[in-house]
């Protein structure tokens, strides 16, 4: 039993955090809002050079051959800066799906992803719309009982604006028939796996988003003065923040456990992911609610950076399975006849 990350994993997290905080500033995010496609190819190139686009790509295909557990801490940091680029999607969803499909498709696309030369985007029916379809070089779409691979020429995109200006969402229509790359049970397994990884990616980012909102708010309330003192010295303000800290403190381990479960292919992976997604998104939603409150009117403005993180947290809570979807999966597990629950069951009963 060792529920800790290795020294290497923690150091990698640290260095990626340093890079992201330096490069992905709120100013750069806002600049992205002013552009048509909202994505920054020079940043994507930098991420590729750091090995991040290929982190989960097998070494044989030019990647680092790491897994979801190695990536989860990095996904937290992507959340911390509200990274607009589809890095979490790439490493957690697209690359594993390509790997599972295998064959020529994987041989062709995985090296390009690792090199930062191509983006592959997955669109599932559970998600109303497809994130970042406009920058995809290949789309893997769930259509009925199949997964089809479509090139940009084979689809028509209808843009939907999100409350989070960084999110680019599209309805995708196949204008041409696209080749099925998986069907039946195999397609179903791909969809389940992608849902789990997508939700895990959201959960990890939610942790980072919540932490960022806390950091911003602690700083703001230490500086802003009212009644002749820093507002952060008022107990009501402190307790708003302490409540977020408690909720966040108890959301981390479930996310790390879910990442371990997915990477190890444990039978309870889907259950662990639903747990993680629910508690991490709850923590981020509570952070959003309490952090805007302690900012006063400043928190309600476009100018203050808080909303960059708050809006992303709101969006992630309802994508890759909303609370209802994940609670249904939890309910199926715990209310099942003969479910093994209680003391001692956490790591061995299921």
């Amino acid at each position: 039993m060792d529920f800790t990350f290795s020294e290497d994993q923690l150091l990698f997290q640290e260095s990626v955090k340093d890079f992201l905080v330096k490069e992905v500033t709120p100013e750069r995010i806002r600049a992205g809002w002013e552009t048509d496609n909202g994505r920054d190819s020079s940043l994507w190139q930098q991420l590729a050079e750091l090995g991040l686009t290929g982190l989960t790509v097998p070494e044989a295909h030019g990647g680092l051959g790491m897994n979801e557990l190695d990536f989860v801490l990095l996904a937290q940091e992507c959340g911390y800066v509200a990274l607009p680029e589809p890095l979490v999607h790439t490493a957690m969803v697209a690359v594993p799906m390509l790997g599972q499909i295998g064959g020529e498709l994987a041989d062709h696309w995985l090296p390009k992803i690792a090199a930062g030369e191509a983006k592959v985007i997955v669109g599932l029916e559970q998600n109303l719309l497809v994130e970042d379809a406009h920058v995809a070089d290949l789309l893997l779409l769930q259509r009925g009982a199949s997964i089809v691979a479509a090139t940009p020429e084979q689809v028509e995109l209808r843009h939907n604006e999100s409350v989070d200006p960084s999110r680019k969402l599209y309805a995708v229509e196949l204008s041409d028939s696209a080749a099925a790359v998986a069907e039946g049970e195999q397609a179903q397994a791909l969809v389940t796996g992608a849902m789990d990884r997508g939700a895990l990616g959201c959960a990890a980012q939610a942790l980072g988003l919540a932490q960022r909102m806390v950091d911003i708010s602690v700083q703001y309330t230490s500086e802003r003065q009212q009644f002749g003192q820093a507002i952060g010295a008022f107990q009501a303000v402190k307790h708003h923040m302490a409540n977020v800290a408690v909720s966040l403190e108890y959301a981390r381990a479930p996310v790390h456990r879910a990442a371990y479960s997915v990477a190890a292919g444990e039978p309870i992976a889907s259950h662990a992911v639903s747990h993680a997604k629910l508690v991490a998104c709850d923590a981020a939603n509570l952070a959003a609610k309490n952090c805007i409150q302690v900012h006063g009117a400043m928190g309600y403005t476009w100018e203050v950076d808080l909303h960059i993180f708050m809006k992303k947290a709101w969006a992630l809570a309802n994508t890759w399975g909303d609370a209802g979807y994940h609670k249904t999966r939890i309910g199926e597990h715990i209310f099942a006849e003969g479910a093994v629950l209680g003391a001692g069951a956490t790591f061995q009963g299921m």
């Binding site: 529920f3 557990l69 302490a242 381990a253």
Partner: protein, 388 residues
């Protein structure tokens, strides 16, 4: 990261399980807030100690098994699963014991720890006073050194299990001119010393679960001082550290409550679902108990590898106490009109001991440092928010 148990850990679990299966009394003991229940729990402590299961984290030479925190968690899991009796001497074993090992003299350890281990001497904690609750540094009870004796005067209150306990440990003001947390000394007091009056205080369930302790020129030998004179605050903080840390409430306790709650819901689903919030609350209880377990394992593994526990431990107290309240509130909702009935009432079918749990859950956010005080600590020491 490897979230599987080692063979050694699995073997340890088996050993705990089979000992408990052979030894846990078939019928639940009476509550230790009664004289007979107290005596029965004391006997159980002796039995645990005979099997060397009383203080698994204590060193072997003191009758323990030198378990690390993961083994301790495994032990607790089996203990709660086996529905073994609550620990009447937990203030001794989990709070004073570790503090004694750190600050006590060899003579004190040899004199006190074995009798603590076998239940011969049960300990009460004497910190709170009528005017020193959350503000513990406002302690007024005094101890005056005369020759090789302290003369103690004053009053302690809310002292759990002091009605039948043998000893209490507490903090007393040894420097009459001192202020706040300076000038306090940690002293161990036998409760049968002349000049002591223990007045039971009935709790919400009507039973005398705690007591006031009055000291009227009580003489205690200087050999019962723990740590240096005037160093009481830092010794006490070490005790509070253990208390607030991992050992006070292991996840197993709440996981078993959550499991029983799922059972209760399933048994009563037809009526329980008339309030759609109930199903959600049951799921939430289960998830939170699991989160508490996962987080505790993560912390335990970090500590096993030499990590330190910091102000984030204050989140722990808030999380489990609110979880416990929520779980019991949900059980009360499920029981509906039966919820208010005492277990022996003729029409109280299937109420189990939820009402008792519900009553006790009300105290969780209060004792061991109120949740408001914990939130202050989190904000100031964990998040770094301004004090003034």
């Amino acid at each position: 990261m490897d979230l599987t148990y080692t063979d050694k850990q699995n073997a340890f679990r088996e050993e705990v399980r089979s000992w408990l299966a052979a030894n846990v009394p078939a019928e639940a003991l009476q509550t230790f807030d009664t004289a007979e229940g107290f005596a029965a729990h004391r006997e159980w402590e002796a039995k645990l100690n005979e099997g060397r299961w009383g203080m698994v984290t204590w060193p072997e030479e003191l009758g323990g098994r030198a378990c690390d925190l993961i083994e301790w968690l495994i032990f607790e899991e089996e203990y709660y699963k086996a529905r073994a009796p609550l620990r009447v001497n937990q203030n001794g074993i989990f709070l004073l014991g570790p503090t004694l090992m750190e600050y006590g003299t060899e003579e004190q350890k040899a004199r006190i720890l074995p009798k603590m281990a076998n239940g011969e001497e049960v300990w009460a904690q004497g910190w709170s006073e009528p005017n020193a609750g959350s503000d513990m540094a406002a302690i007024r009870s005094t101890a005056r050194l005369e020759g090789d004796k302290y003369i103690i005067n004053g009053q302690k209150t809310w002292s759990t299990r002091a009605v039948w306990a043998d000893w209490c440990f507490g903090m007393f003001r040894t420097d009459p001119d001192s202020q706040r947390h300076r000038g306090l000394t940690f002293i161990l007091v036998p409760l049968n010393t002349p000049g002591i009056t223990v007045r039971p205080i009935p709790q919400l369930d009507g039973l005398p679960g705690f007591a006031e302790i009055f000291f009227d020129n009580v003489e205690v030998g200087v050999e019962n001082r723990l740590g240096d004179e005037g160093a009481g605050w830092s010794v006490a903080m070490a005790t509070a550290g253990f208390e607030r840390g991992l050992m006070l409430r292991s996840p197993a306790r709440f996981q078993e409550t959550a499991r029983r709650l799922v059972e209760l819901y399933r048994e009563n689903q037809a009526t329980a679902d008339s309030d759609p919030a109930v199903r959600d609350a049951v799921m939430r209880a289960y998830l939170d108990a699991e989160s508490y377990c996962l987080t505790t394992y993560q912390t335990a593994c970090r500590l096993n590898k030499g990590g330190k526990i910091g102000a984030e431990s204050s989140t722990n107290k808030i999380f489990w106490s609110e979880l416990d309240q929520n779980m019991h509130a949900t059980a009360m909702s499920i029981l509906g009109a039966r919820a208010e009935l005492l277990p022996h009432a003729p029409d109280a079918q299937g109420v189990g001991n939820w009402l008792d749990g519900w009553l006790f859950a009300q105290s969780g956010p209060i004792y061991a440092g109120t949740n408001e005080v914990q939130r202050n600590i989190i904000a100031e020491r964990m998040l770094g928010m301004p004090r003034k």
